[in-house]
Every structure is written in C-alpha cells, then in structure tokens.
C-alpha cells in the first residue's frame, strides 16, 4: 500500500469529525464519497498535515507522516488539489506550475517533461501561460490546480472535489483525463458527482458521520442499493 490510514481521529476544537477512519490506497484510483459535512476534506487535510491527527496512524510510502508539517508531506510525494484550489492568484500560470515542482525532490530535473505533460493534458493552460491566475475562470483555475499538483510528479495525487464549480461538460472531460492518469499515479479523489467519478476509479469508500460506512469496488458501489438511493439519485 502507498497510503495507509489506521483508526484516524481528529476534529476542530471540541468537535470530533473523524471517529476512527481506516483507509488505504495502492497503485490504483480510489474514490471517497459521502454527504456534505461527512469529513472528507477533514480526512484529506489530516493526511496532508494541514489538520493534526488526535490519534491513529498515517503511513505513506513506508514512512509515518501522521502530524508532519504540510511541506514535508508534499516533499515526500503527495500532491493535493484542494477543494478551494489554493493557487497564487497574483502570479502567472507559468509561475504557479513552476512552483508545483520546485520544492519536491521527486520532480527535480524533470520539470520540462512534467510541464509538457500538463500542457498536453490542459491545452488551455498553454494559451493562458502568461496570464495571472486570479483573472481566470473557476474552471480554468481548477485546471491550474490539477496541473500544479501533477508538476510534482507525485506518487499519490489527492483531489478534493475536482469538479466543484465546473460546467457539466468539463466535468466529464476532467474525469476522462484522470482516468488516463491513473495508469501512472495512485489517486484518491472525493466527489459529489458520484456517477461521473465511478467511471474513473477502481475502488471507493463511503464516509458517513466521520467513519467508513462502506467500501467496495466501483462496480460493487454502482450496484449497492444504499449508494444508488443516496448518491446516484435514481
């Protein structure tokens, strides 16, 4: 396993949000589903060291990363596309992408290759290469955020609601591109749009009230009556 989360508990102040989560990601693409407020972002932010775990273990690539500073987690090989994008609005697409690779040892010396790959995946970024990111549309910014993460040549790519605020036509496109990536990179993705994302993942977890309520393959989830009624809206 590349990522192993065991009995993870955390929260905000006195509010306990995660009540013991077990989750793992190997060389595969894994979905993380659940209603708004279930704790998906909290789980991801805790893996990333943005929130600190109260208890439990987070292992990545053989190292214990639980509670480590965010920049060290990033350097170890996890790239995050945050729900809020967290770009550098006053800097160009070029600089945002460059900084995605600049501090990650895994990306050292292969910046050009990663850049070509990103610009091929999102040709619009090539056109807007010198534009300030803060002046771009939400959808384009989402692409910059995904591109910035890919620049790091990550071992694990985590995407938090990548289709948030995107037009439906673009959503399908993003997932099609993610499906292409999953051959090379381990992916953990949270999504409100369960139907689209089931096409791009191998396995999935359903998080409810801060704990894993369900785990299954993509086909299994698509057939599960609870998933169908609660998330596929049939």
């Amino acid at each position: 396993m590349i990522l192993d989360v065991k009995k993870l508990e955390t929260g905000y102040g006195r509010l306990r949000v995660l009540t013991g989560v077990d989750l793992s990601v190997g060389r595969e693409s894994v979905g993380l589903f659940g209603p708004n407020g279930a704790g998906k972002t909290t789980l991801i932010n805790t893996i990333m060291g943005i929130n600190k775990p109260w208890s439990g273990v987070v292992t990545f690539d053989g190292q214990d990363i639980g509670g480590k500073a965010t920049h060290l987690v990033a350097r170890a090989g996890i790239a995050l596309v945050p729900q809020e994008r967290e770009l550098f609005p006053g800097m160009s697409v070029a600089d945002n992408l460059e900084l995605g690779a600049a501090y990650v040892p895994r990306a050292a010396g292969i910046g050009k290759r990663q850049l070509d790959m990103v610009l091929q995946l999102f040709p619009i970024l090539k056109e807007r290469y010198r534009q300030l990111v803060g002046t771009m549309s939400g959808g384009q910014q989402r692409m910059v955020a995904i591109g910035r993460a890919l620049m790091a040549n990550p071992l694990l790519l985590i995407l938090d609601e990548p289709s948030l605020g995107l037009q439906p036509s673009i959503v399908a496109e993003v997932f099609e591109r993610l499906a292409r990536l999953k051959k090379e990179i381990a992916i953990l993705v949270t999504e409100q749009n369960v139907r689209e994302s089931l096409k791009a993942i191998d396995r999935g977890y359903v998080l409810e009230n801060g704990a894993v309520a369900l785990r299954d393959t993509a086909e299994g989830l698509a057939k599960n009556p609870h998933v169908v009624s609660a998330y596929l809206g049939i």
Binding site: T70, H71, A74, E86, F88, P89, L99, Y103
Partner: protein
C-alpha cells in the same frame, strides 16, 4: 489592477509635484528628491515584510537605529569609514532579525493584528530604551569629508552625497523586483505572501520563508543604518519618525507595491522640502506625512462607500 492604478497615480503626482517645484525653486526639488530617496530606502524593507509576512513591524526604524549605533562604535574603535560597515552591518541586523523572528514574531503570526502591533511596538521600545540605557541619549555623529561635497550649476549649489540614497532606493526596488519575479526562492516568497497554505501544499517551508524575508528586510534596513550614519547624527529616538513615515508610505502604496513606495516617497519628500522653504511653515514639514496618511484613509473610505 487597482494596484497598478494607484502606482500610476502616485508616480504621476510625485512627478507633477517635482516639475512644479523645479520651476519655482530648483534646490527645493533637489533636497526633496534626496529626502525621498532616504525615505524610500527605509520604507521598502517594511513594505517587503508587510507584503509577505503580513506584519507591520513597528520596530522597523529602531532596527536601523541599532545598526547605526553598532556601526558608530565599530568605526570609532577602528577608525574605519561607515561605508565599509554597510555590508557587515547588514549581516549583523539580518542575524538579529532572524533571532527576533524565531523568538517572538512567529509566535504572534496567528494572533490578532492588535497583538502583533503591540509586540513589534514593544520590541521597538526595548531597542530604543536599551540603547538609551547603555549609551545615554547623547547625540553622536561621525564627520566625513566627502559628505559635504557640493556641486554648482549656474547659480545653483547643492550637496551631492545624499543622492546616494536615491541610488540605493532605486537599486533596492529593482533588485527586489528581480528577486521576487526571477528566482525560485523569490517566487516562493511571493507565493507565501499570496497564499501560505497553497505554498505549504507545494512543499514550501512557510515558516522558514517568513524568517528569511524578515531577515532580508532587516539586512536592508541594517545596511541603511550604516549609510544613514554617514550623513546624520544619531540618538536613541532617531528611528521612531522613520517607523512612522515608512508606515505612512507603505499604506499609501498599498500592500506589496514596491514601485508605489517610490512614488509615495517622492510625494512626501517634495512636500516636506516645499514646506521647509518657508520659514513660517518649517515646523509643519515633520508632520506632513500625517496629513498624507489621513488623505489616503479618507480616499479609501470614500471609495469603499461608493462600491
């Protein structure tokens, strides 16, 4: 966009003032520009800290004062010229800045702004009162021959040495611009200023970047301390007005706007120089910065009401 417009306004106003003053009394223009250089060279490092660490350092001028004192005693002991002390002084204040950052400022970064202001204000008092206790409030000066070098053009005669401040301020602005937009470390610092969480996510050590930027700013202001000593007398309270004026200039320019600081300094330097030209108004020169800051605040609240 708003930033660009403000920079343009400041620079145009500054140049227009320069032109009018030049028609009337060229020496007023020359002294105004020289003073503007001094103000800008001191304010730019404060703008750097505010733009990236998001802290108003109310001990800013006091750091310069401490550097000037260190230079003074070093030069007295060795007989060397303060100009030779610019780099060593910068190195020492950088170190002092780093220590102050590590011990105090980083602990206040998440605190309310008022606490941060009280903290740096307190550091400033500590520095000026510490120097007062150790070395008394006596005024100290190093007399240098080249400082009184003057130049005569037609009827016009003026000192040339203070132009060094104009050169230093310009070099600082250009150098910082290049550093922040052309080097990886500079881009990372800019990124930290715009979005610290985003910066950490791509592997940038935010805390270390804050420390480096603070130390760099203190290095610049420390170098200025040595340079300041070439021309001016020093005493424990000499830094205070520079803190206030730097703050005024940085507020006029807007956060993270280094070219704007140059324009604002020109406006302040010329206004002061203009007032000094009239004997009855001379006393007002020292508080004109206060008028400028009130105008800025009024302008901003009016604009805020409109939108």
């Amino acid at each position: 966009m708003a930033m660009k417009r403000r920079t343009t306004i400041l620079v145009v106003l500054g140049l227009a003032a320069a032109f009018l003053v030049a028609l009337w009394k060229p020496t007023v223009l020359i002294y105004g520009v020289q003073q503007a250089g001094l103000y800008a060279a001191i304010a730019i490092p404060m703008g750097l800290v505010l733009g990236i660490v998001h802290i108003v350092n109310l001990a800013h001028g006091e750091f310069m004062m401490v550097a000037a004192y260190a230079t003074y005693f070093a030069c007295r002991a060795t007989g060397l010229d303060p100009l030779l002390a610019v780099l060593p002084s910068a190195a020492v204040t950088a170190l002092l800045g780093w220590v102050v950052y590590k011990l105090t400022i980083r602990r206040a970064l998440k605190a309310p702004e008022l606490n941060q202001l009280i903290l740096t204000f307190g550091i400033g008092i500590l520095l000026s009162q510490g120097v007062n206790l150790l070395f008394t409030s006596q005024t100290r000066k190093i007399s240098l021959e080249y400082v009184s070098a003057s130049m005569t053009i037609g009827e016009l005669s003026f000192g040339v040495w203070p132009f060094v401040f104009v050169i230093v301020a310009t070099a600082m602005a250009v150098g910082l611009k290049l550093f922040l937009t052309r080097t990886t470390t500079g881009k990372a610092a800019l990124a930290v200023g715009q979005n610290p969480r985003g910066a950490a996510i791509v592997g940038i050590d935010v805390d270390r970047t804050y420390g480096l930027v603070f130390a760099l700013a203190m290095a610049l202001v420390g170098g200025m301390g040595a340079l300041f000593l070439t021309r001016s007398a020093i005493f424990p309270g000499v830094g205070g007005p520079f803190t206030m004026k730097s703050f005024c200039l940085v507020a006029m320019a807007g956060i993270g706007n280094i070219p704007g600081i140059l324009g604002a300094s020109l406006l302040l330097g010329l206004s002061e120089s203009f007032l000094r030209a009239f004997r009855e108004l001379r006393g007002w020169a020292d508080i004109i910065f206060f008028v400028l800051i009130i105008v800025v605040i009024l302008g901003r609240s009016l604009k805020g009401r409109k939108s």
